[in-house]
Every structure is written in structure tokens, then in C-alpha cells.
């Protein structure tokens, strides 16, 4: 073996001491987590716990498919969809407005302030916002809508700001240099380049918000979650199973719809 290949092999083998260090750290952290929580996974794998798990699952079948309950589920599903759609739409509008200062277009002072606000909005989980909004707006789907809007505008504002920063500056600059107003230059020079991305982000968040909207009911903010919480606390497992199936169906449908829209967006001229 010649010297060069040996050197090459060495550099290939020892190419990244930091990588191995990081991986070792990660393993240590994972091990420490399990130790801190004193989780005993082997206990979960015994025959007895398997049997009790099966018994637990068996109680959920067959799901309640009676017409009356189906009607209730349809109403809950519609409410969930409405909460998520309105919440996401509000968030997308607010996010775009907040993204302008957060992308540094109005100076670094505004940038820092809006970044902090966006971080705050998104660091508070939807469920906590919902619990707060239930106090502010009363029980019901409106509280859920507000909660989703608040959290999601933090997330979307940050993503939109990143898209704005990464958008090519040339078209807008050309428009401004040929005499267009800055606002118009933004609408015709910058926005078209990032619209597919903004739409993709919004759809992606809508998808997540539908899942979230089902859950917000746990603190009284309407939708399928409220039904599930209610049925489970009454030990009505078959009804709970129907609600879970409805939630799954909702997610699958939205998944398919958003994939379809994304394909349309990617097609040239579509």
C-alpha cells in the first residue's frame, strides 16, 4: 500500500472528530434521559403487560357506528376543520405582516423586536394558548381558533421571514430602479418568487393545525377533541374509537389534499 493511499485512508477514517464526539454526546444524553426518568422498557415487553395491553385495545372494538353518533361526529369534524382553517388563515395574514420587519426590511431594531415576539408566540404551545383563550373568550371553538392563530403566526412569521430573506433581491431592485413604488416592487418583484413557498408552509401548518384543533378540545375549545375527552372520561371506549377513526380520516384526507395542491403548484403554469 502506497503512502498516499494510507494518508487518504487516515483522513477518511479520522475525518471528523467532532462528528464522533457529537454522536457520543448524543448517546450519553439519551442514556441519561432514560436513567433520569427511570424508565424500565423491559417491563413493557413481558407477557403479562402484553396481555393487558391487548385487553385494553379490545375494549375499543367494535367502534360505535350508530347514525346518531355519526351525526355528532360530523358536526365535531366540521367544527375542527373550521377552527383549523380560520386559525391558519388568520395566522398566515399575521405572519406575513410580522415577517416584513422580522426579515430586516425595516431596520435591525424592528428585526430584533419582532423576532422576539415571534419566538414568544411560537414557544407557547397551542394548548396553553387555548387554556388562556378559554379565559379570555369563553368556552367554545372561538377560543381554539384564537389559540391556533396566535401560535401559528409565530411559526409562520419566522418561516416567512426566512423565505423573504432568501428571495432573490434582483427583481424588486430592478422595479424600484425603474421607478416603481417600494410596495408595488415588493408585490410584483418579491412576492411571486416566494408565493409557492408561503403557500406550502401555510398548507403544512394547516395540516398540523387540524391535528392540533382536534386536541384543543381537551381544555374546552371545541371540536372532536372535546368529544373524545368526554367519551373517554365516561369510559365509552367504542364511541372514543369512532372519534379517533374520524380524526384519522380527517388527517388522511388533508394529507392527500395538500399533496395534490403541492403537485399542482410544482407543475409549470399550473
Amino acid at each position: 500500500m502506497s503512502a498516499t493511499t494510507l494518508a487518504e485512508r487516515r483522513s477518511a477514517l479520522g475525518f471528523c472528530i467532532y462528528c464522533w464526539g457529537t454522536i457520543a454526546c448524543l448517546i450519553a444524553v439519551v442514556w441519561a434521559s432514560f436513567a433520569y426518568l427511570s424508565l424500565d422498557l423491559s417491563r413493557l415487553l413481558t407477557l403479562e403487560s402484553g396481555r393487558s395491553m391487548l385487553e385494553f385495545i379490545a375494549r375499543f372494538f367494535p367502534p360505535d357506528l350508530s347514525a346518531g353518533f355519526m351525526q355528532k361526529i360530523a358536526k365535531g369534524t366540521l367544527e375542527t376543520l373550521a377552527i383549523s382553517a380560520v386559525g391558519t388563515l388568520l395566522a398566515a395574514s399575521a405572519g406575513l405582516v410580522l415577517a416584513l420587519p422580522a426579515s430586516g426590511r425595516l431596520g435591525s431594531g424592528f428585526k430584533l423586536a419582532t423576532r422576539f415576539a415571534l419566538n414568544f408566540l411560537r414557544s407557547v404551545p397551542e394548548l396553553v394558548w387555548a387554556a388562556l383563550m378559554v379565559l379570555a373568550a369563553g368556552l367554545g371553538p372561538f377560543a381554539g381558533t384564537l389559540a391556533l392563530a396566535l401560535h401559528t403566526s409565530g411559526v409562520l412569521g419566522r418561516l416567512f421571514a426566512e423565505s423573504l430573506e432568501n428571495a432573490p433581491p434582483e427583481p424588486a431592485r430592478t422595479l424600484v430602479e425603474s421607478g416603481a413604488a417600494p410596495g408595488l416592487a415588493f408585490v410584483y418583484g418579491t412576492l411571486p418568487a416566494i408565493t409557492p413557498q408561503l403557500l406550502a408552509y401555510s398548507l403544512y401548518r394547516w395540516e398540523m393545525n387540524i391535528r392540533m384543533a382536534t386536541v384543543l378540545g381537551f381544555v374546552g375549545a371545541g371540536g372532536l377533541g372535546q368529544m373524545l375527552y368526554y367519551e373517554l372520561s365516561l369510559l365509552h371506549e367504542p364511541q372514543a374509537c369512532s372519534v379517533i377513526i374520524a380524526m384519522l380520516a380527517l388527517v388522511v384526507l388533508v394529507d392527500a389534499a395538500s399533496a395534490w395542491v403541492r403537485r399542482r403548484q410544482m407543475r409549470p403554469g399550473g
Binding site: Y18, C19, T22, L26, V29, V30, A32, S33, F34, Y36, L37, L39, L44, S52, M53, F56, L78, E79, L81, A82, I83, A85, V86, G87, L89, N119, F120, R122, S123, V124, P125, L127, V128, A131, L135, A136, A137, G138, G140, P141, F142, G144, T145, L146, R211, M212, T214, V215, F218, V219, G222, L228, Y229, L232, I244, M247, L248, V251, V252
Partner: protein
């Protein structure tokens, strides 16, 4: 030939499409607003204002008493540990499923031969399993698992493992298919096994994306494990739930500040890990 712009050529060619979409949006939105009981006036209802005002008034100053702070810090560490352990288990679930799902590692797709139908059937089954896992929100899993395993962080960890396992598995397979799959294909065609084709053909090109997505999901899991507490799975959420039910604004604002710091910390950690793995 340069013609002066006419009225016709100055018109936005997209105007009809834009108008149609706007009309459809308005028509769709109106019933949605009704169903969501969108009534902003309720925010300014005197009774609601009083409750919320009193609650928010207590936010300042936050409760920074030693005893409560110690409790909150313990809950914070528990939250982080739940997220980390959950994501580790999720990866155990997601890596095999993601590899099984990825078309770029399919030998039967390369050429005519037996086993293609079986492969496709297995792949469809794996895809269905992942869909079931991630289609049910983590807090619902937590609620169900709390009833199966009792109160405590175990239910939360397993709920994260199940849900995020489903998400990671799907995205892993998508990442493995979206990059340059030719090296893996060449390796498979030359007779290497699937695992070797993955390690030498796919992993070098997609390791960074896989790692950074996993770290991003860890960030999400930190937020999710906060929420788990609301159904009794320990961590900061449980503390928050208690303070919220007692309308103790000082404690709630302390926990909110910890949330903010936690997200910033998770952000910083994930950035550091991602840049190291780059």
C-alpha cells in the same frame, strides 16, 4: 418590433384567475367563520375582560420563590428527558420502517424478477402502519397510554415515540428518495445488500438532512412533552395545568418564561448539533 404598450398589454393576465380564487375563498370562508363561532366582540365582553385582566395582572411579578423555582426546574429537566428518550425510541421505530419504505433501496424494482408484488405489499403495509402512528395526535396517544400504563412520564415518552416514529419514518423515506439515488442503485445492481447500499450510497448524501430533520423533530418533541402534562404524563405541563386551574398568574408567568427559555435553548442546541453534523 417595439410596439407602444396598449391598454390590453398592460392588463394583468392573471386577473380572471385571481378574481375567481378570491371569490371561492370568500365563499368558503363565510360558513367556516360561522362554524368557528368567530365573534371577536366576545374578547371585550365585560365578564371575560375582568377574569382575564385579573389573571394577567398577577403575571407581574412572576413567582420566583425558591421552592416553586426548584419544582419548575425539576419539571423542566423531566420535560427535556421525556423528549430525548421519546425521540430515541422514535428513531428505533422510524429507521427500519423508513428504510423499508424507501423505493431507492428496492431490489425488486430494478429489474424483472420475483418478489416485486410482495415488496410492494410490504411497503403498503409499512406505509399504513406509519399513517396510523402519526395520524393520531401525540396527546391522544398519551391519554390512551396513561390509562394503559398509569400516570407518569412513561406514557408521555411512549406517546412521543409512537407519533414521532410515524413522522420520522415517513420523512426519512422521502429524504432517501429525493436525493441522488444513483449511487445506491449502482451498488444494488452490482450485488450489494440493501443495508450496504444505504450506508455507502444514500447516507453520505442525505445524512445532514436526516440529522437536521431529526433534531428539528426533537425540538417539536420538547414542546409536545410540555403538553403531555395536561393529561397527567408529568413534566412542565402538569405544573402549568395545576397553576392554571388555580388561576395563579404568578406561577403561570414563571412557567411561560421557562417555556421561552426552553425553546430558545432547544433552538440553540439544534443549531449547534446541525452545524456540527454538516
Amino acid at each position: 418590433m417595439n410596439l407602444p404598450p396598449t391598454r390590453q398589454s398592460l392588463r394583468d393576465p392573471n386577473a380572471p384567475a385571481r378574481a375567481t380564487w378570491a371569490l371561492i375563498a370568500v365563499l368558503l370562508l363565510w360558513p367556516l367563520l360561522l362554524v368557528a363561532e368567530f365573534r371577536p366582540a366576545e374578547l371585550f365582553d365585560a365578564r371575560n375582560l375582568k377574569v382575564m385582566g385579573g389573571f394577567l395582572g398577577q403575571f407581574f411579578p412572576p413567582n420566583l420563590g425558591g421552592e416553586f423555582l426548584a419544582l419548575a426546574l425539576k419539571a423542566t429537566v423531566e420535560t427535556l428527558a421525556m423528549a430525548t428518550a421519546g425521540i430515541a425510541l422514535a428513531m428505533l421505530l422510524a429507521v427500519p420502517l423508513g428504510l423499508a419504505l424507501s423505493h431507492s433501496l428496492s431490489i425488486s424494482r430494478i429489474g424483472p424478477g420475483p418478489g416485486r408484488g410482495v415488496g410492494e405489499a410490504l411497503r403498503a403495509l409499512a406505509r399504513l402502519a406509519l399513517l396510523l402512528l402519526r395520524g393520531i395526535p401525540e396527546i391522544v396517544w398519551a391519554l390512551l397510554l396513561v390509562r394503559a400504563f398509569g400516570l407518569g412520564p412513561a406514557a408521555g415518552v411512549l406517546a412521543i415515540a409512537v407519533t414521532y416514529g410515524g413522522m420520522l419514518g415517513k420523512v426519512y423515506s422521502e429524504i432517501l428518495e429525493s436525493g441522488d439515488t444513483r449511487p445506491a442503485r449502482v451498488l444494488l445492481e452490482l450485488g450489494s445488500g440493501r443495508l450496504m447500499a444505504f450506508f455507502y450510497g444514500l447516507l453520505p448524501g442525505s445524512a445532514q438532512e436526516l440529522a437536521s430533520y431529526t433534531v428539528y423533530r426533537w425540538e417539536c418533541a420538547v414542546r409536545a412533552s410540555v403538553i403531555m402534562g395536561f393529561v397527567g404524563a408529568g413534566g412542565l405541563g402538569q405544573l402549568m395545568d395545576q397553576s392554571m386551574k388555580m388561576l395563579n398568574g404568578g406561577e403561570v408567568s414563571t412557567i411561560l418564561i421557562i417555556f421561552l427559555l426552553l425553546v430558545l435553548l432547544a433552538d440553540a442546541i439544534s443549531n449547534a448539533v446541525r452545524s456540527t453534523l454538516a
